[in-house]
């Protein structure tokens, strides 16, 4: 029998359904792999019992001949930004350490309803703020990948770094991620896996710890395009508890998968050819065009003229919303409370928040508070909103000439942990290609294509029209079939 932990979502679901193995065997194999991989620090808490209970429920259903669900028997990792009932939910912060929600997020509930189980809560950048997974209160996540001939610990990307690390290391067949300005796509690219951020509103934000509400969107991270399609289908859906949720039926993305791109036009945005982009990444982009042409698509040049303003606008809008969203962590009702002797309310706020938030979170709260303050609001927040409108308009115009856009996911491959800690601006630049689609609320996916000369994975990004996850997945599938990416990190953990 093959090593069960090499299996992905589709293989496990189909194998459990056909009786090739039981869901319990799968859950046990992954629980064991998780237990062995503590040095990756991918999980903040592990929940082997949850995985086993879900597996037993699926096995029992199979025995009775009942429907097993679209994720039946698949144990997954849950990013620790999703509230899970009775299981600690921290957003990788000290301020929420020990917080056990009395409620289950809509997305995680959808997954459990589809037959999935939970291996544990995955580490992330604190409050999803970061691009390297070094801002977690619970320590950085290690990428399973290393540069050829080096022992240096590499970044799994962020903020969904626990998710990317676990899926790349095969200690989870798939994981949830959230993407505010690239937090699914960048870590997916860094670790040689797939990840898709759907159209804003596809996945309910109810029960997901908020970072920047107008940008936050959940999505799946897995090793194949098919697995992403299956899992996204399970996660998505209208939720009356989220006023920004899309009131649309969830398409049958898995059934609609097709790598035949005849009649499709793929746009290549000239503005994404930026200084500082890795030559090997530019080369892979060229290769990507060839593959899509080979799949039947026509390649066209398009222009997204406001691209260079997207990142600065993002770093105004996202911190502005975050500064307000994080005001609720005040020590009054839940989570950390630091009440010095004789302190009043203001002292309690100050002490609690000083102690409970990490430096990057504080930096963004300060930026956000500043850009919203009287006298600066128009110059920063309002201006950034205008830029956001222009960025969206760029895409709308480009989609008059093409069906999807192909671009690099990141300007560079993964970097060693610690190498960018003193340089937040360079760190922020990691998301330069990811942020525009976030500002426009568009579906976007990263697909692994190759490894560079250091042996590190590189990804390409496909950005689609609003609601056209199918087009994105199909272009991703065409690339996946031609790239034949089968590199695996060598096990060192």
């Amino acid at each position: 029998m093959t090593d069960l932990t090499n299996l992905g979502v589709k293989d496990i679901r189909d194998g459990v359904a056909s009786g090739e193995f039981t869901a319990r065997e799968i859950a046990e194999a992954f629980n064991a792999a998780v237990a062995e991989a503590a040095s990756l620090n991918a999980f903040i808490v592990t929940t082997p019992d949850h995985a086993l209970a879900a597996a037993d429920a699926v096995d029992a259903k199979r025995a009775k001949g009942e429907d097993l669900g679209t994720m039946g028997g698949v144990p997954i990792g849950m990013k620790d930004l999703f509230a899970t009932k009775g299981v600690q939910t921290t957003a990788a912060s000290h301020i929420l350490e020990g917080f056990n929600p009395q409620y289950e997020s809509t997305v995680s509930q959808n997954l459990w309803d589809a037959g999935a189980g939970m291996l544990g809560k995955l580490n992330l950048d604190q409050f999803a703020m970061g691009s390297s997974n070094e801002t977690s209160y619970f320590g950085n996540v290690n990428s399973p990948w290393r540069k050829a001939g080096s022992d240096a610990a590499m970044s799994p990307g962020g903020s969904s770094g626990g998710s990317s690390s676990a899926v790349a290391a095969r200690i989870a067949p798939a994981a949830t991620g959230t993407d505010t300005g690239g937090s699914i796509r960048q870590p997916a690219a860094f670790t040689g896996i797939c990840g898709i951020k759907p159209t804003y509103g596809r996945c309910s934000r109810w029960g997901v710890v908020a970072f920047a509400s107008s940008l936050d969107q959940a999505g799946p991270m897995a090793r194949t395009v098919e697995d992403c399609a299956i899992m996204l289908e399970a996660m998505a859906g209208f939720d009356p508890k989220d006023a920004t949720s899309l009131s649309m039926d969830v398409p049958a993305w898995e059934a609609g998968l097709s790598a035949d791109l005849k009649g499709k036009r793929i746009g290549i945005p000239k503005e994404y050819r930026m200084d500082g982009t890795d030559e090997e990444i530019l080369k892979s982009w060229e290769q990507g065009k060839e593959w899509l042409r080979d799949a039947g698509a026509e390649i066209v040049d398009v222009s997204l003229p406001h691209t260079k303003y997207a990142l600065p606008a993002y770093y105004i809008v996202a911190p502005a919303e975050a500064s307000s969203n994080l005001a609720r962590y005040d020590g009054v009702r839940y989570g950390l409370r630091d009440l010095p002797d004789g302190a009043g309310l203001q002292d309690m706020y100050a002490a609690t928040r000083a102690e409970g938030f990490g430096d990057e979170v504080k930096r963004r709260i300060l930026i956000g508070t500043f850009v919203l303050s009287a006298g600066f609001y128009d110059a920063y927040y309002n201006q950034a909103q205008k830029v956001r409108t222009l960025v969206s308009r760029d895409f709308a115009e480009a989609f008059g000439q093409c069906d999807a856009i192909l671009a690099p996911t990141t300007p560079t491959a993964s970097f060693p942990l610690g190498s960018l800690n003193d340089d937040p601006l360079t760190m922020y630049l990691n998301d330069v290609f990811a942020v525009p689609a976030s500002l426009a609320g568009l579906p976007a996916m990263s697909v692994p294509v190759t490894v560079n000369t250091d042996g590190l994975p590189l990804g390409l990004q496909i950005v689609g029209k609003p609601f056209d996850e199918q087009g994105v997945l199909n272009a991703g599938l065409a690339i996946q079939q031609r790239a034949g990416f089968d590199a695996k990190p060598e096990k060192w953990w």
Binding site: G207, V209, A210, A243, S323, A327, R328, Y334, L345, T369
Partner: protein, 498 residues
């Protein structure tokens, strides 16, 4: 034009007033959560995960609250904004779980409107006056801090957290405490007609922030102060009196009025500084990214409009023009929902009983409802059982009176018995002998006797001393023990005296 002036050492000062009234929207659930809004529950029993601002919780607008705000806007003839948006007002306080209040700064749901306050000479309002309304926006209420539960800690009750409020902002059109009082009463009346707020100021369903400044008549507006959370009409008027006089004193002593937020102390009737302009919060308003802009459809607006009842001004005019009531009666009857409700029920019942159109009996019913019935009720005090004051019973008394079967005095007596006992008025009139005699035979007999016994007076009367007619009426009524129908008595006397 208001003539209200503060007499200062340097001459007369005019007072300029603007009111921001916070009215709790009548709805079963809160503005953005399903939690109940019922008053008086145990602390923290009406708190949803959203109200407590648990991580990952999201607001979802309650359509009923939006509907009530729109209906209120229509009732003050305001522009309804088909596009509006919610903004976050950011500040830290223990009664504000989210760390921000969801409100509407930039795009309120209701724009400019107006409200009429009526001339009231007794109150010093010389003529009708239209007060402009700047806007109405919808926002969340905060929770409540309790400082008396623990020696060193404050407790928080989140039952009110997230309850929907309408903030109704007047223009600075008000010029006297009396006008301010009339404005608040009229607004309260409209809200209660519409059913969008119960107007209960004691329970905090309505409270006002009072903006006051003074100026020499004809000059530019002065610097204003804002006194927060004033919760009765009387207090609103007190705040204005106190603040206006205080500001005049400050200015006449060479000082300047600071733009600041003040608090009212009902115990002393004075206001004091709460926070100065320098300490003012920077609320960092921005559009709430959890909520999409609100776009109202025409069908929704039509439904809102169709659901509006007849409003106080229209009703008052109709009472005067169609029912022929005096302006005073019309105003009294339309001021409160309960009053006109009782009146209209009684009017319909009385008209039906008598078999005349409502307009023919309206004045009689209005006098009864405004003066006679409350007088009887008051004189009885605790002896009266208000549940006996049914429209049916009162209509029956009014019908007997209309037919001449009972006198006004008898009507009161019957009503007293009805209020105490719940007995049927017609039965009371019969059993207790409380009926007028209209039997011409009995009255004629009595009159014949009086004429025979007072031949001298009859002579004088016939000689031109008309005043004596009253004497004969009095004698007849006395003889009939007050139960004769005066109209019948008059007629027979006239016939017999010639």
């Amino acid at each position: 034009m208001s003539t209200y002036r503060i007499q200062g050492a340097t001459g007369e000062w005019e007072v300029v007033i603007g009111l921001e009234v916070h009215a709790q929207v009548t709805s079963k659930a809160k503005l953005f959560s399903g939690a109940s809004t019922a008053f008086g529950a145990e602390p923290n029993t009406q708190v949803s995960l959203v109200d407590a601002a648990m991580p990952g919780m999201l607001p979802v607008p309650n359509a009923e609250c939006i509907r009530q705000a729109v209906r209120t806007g229509m009732a003050i003839e305001a522009q309804i904004n088909k596009y509006s948006r919610f903004d976050r007002k950011n500040y830290f306080y223990a009664d504000l779980p989210q760390g921000y209040q969801i409100s509407q700064l930039y795009h309120p749901i209701v724009g400019e409107g107006q409200l009429l306050i009526e001339a009231d000479e007794k109150a010093g309002i010389a003529e009708d006056k239209v007060i402009g309304i700047e806007r109405i926006h919808v926002e969340q209420d905060a929770g409540k801090l309790m400082h008396d539960q623990h020696p060193t800690m404050s407790y928080v009750d989140l039952n009110r957290s997230g309850v929907a409020l309408m903030e109704i902002v007047s223009k600075p059109d008000i010029r006297s405490p009396a006008e301010a009082g009339a404005y608040v009463r009229k607004l309260r009346s409209i809200l209660r007609y519409v059913g969008s707020c119960d107007g209960n100021m004691e329970e905090g369903s309505m409270r006002a922030d009072v903006n006051v400044s003074v100026r020499k008549p004809g000059e530019e507006f002065g610097t204003r102060t804002e006194t927060k959370n004033v919760n009765s009409v009387r207090f609103v008027m007190q705040v204005i009196e106190y603040e206006a006089n205080r500001q005049v004193d400050v200015l006449e002593n060479g000082g300047t009025v600071d733009q600041e937020t003040r608090l009212f102390d009902p115990g002393t009737g004075t206001t004091r500084t709460m926070r100065s302009k320098e300490d003012a919060h920077d609320y960092r308003y921005f559009p709430d990214p959890d909520l999409l802009p609100l776009e109202l459809e025409d069908a929704f607006l039509e439904e809102c409009r169709a659901s509006l009842p007849e409003l106080p001004d229209a009703k008052r005019q109709r009472y005067e023009s169609e029912l022929g009531l005096t302006p005073y009666n019309a105003r009294e009857l339309t001021a409160e929902v309960e009053t006109f409700g009782r009146f209209e029920t009684l009017l319909a019942a009385t008209a039906a009983k008598i078999g005349k159109p409502e307009a023919k009996v309206a004045t009689q019913v209005a006098n009864w409802a405004l003066s006679v019935a409350p007088g009887v009720m008051k004189s009885l005090g605790d002896e009266a059982d208000p549940s006996n004051a049914t429209a049916e019973a009162q209509a029956s008394i009014l019908a007997m009176q209309d037919k001449g079967e009972i006198s006004g005095g008898q009507a009161k007596e019957i009503y007293e018995i009805v209020l105490k006992s719940g007995r049927d008025p017609e039965e009371v009139a019969g059993t207790e002998g409380l009926k007028q005699v209209s039997d011409t035979g009995a009255i004629e007999a009595a009159i014949d006797e009086i004429i025979a016994n007072n031949a001298d007076k009859v002579e004088e009367y016939r000689g031109g001393k008309d005043k004596l007619f009253g004497f004969f009426v009095g004698q007849t009524m006395k003889a009939m023990q007050g139960k004769a129908n005066p109209a019948v008595v008059n007629q027979i006397l006239k016939d017999k005296l010639g």
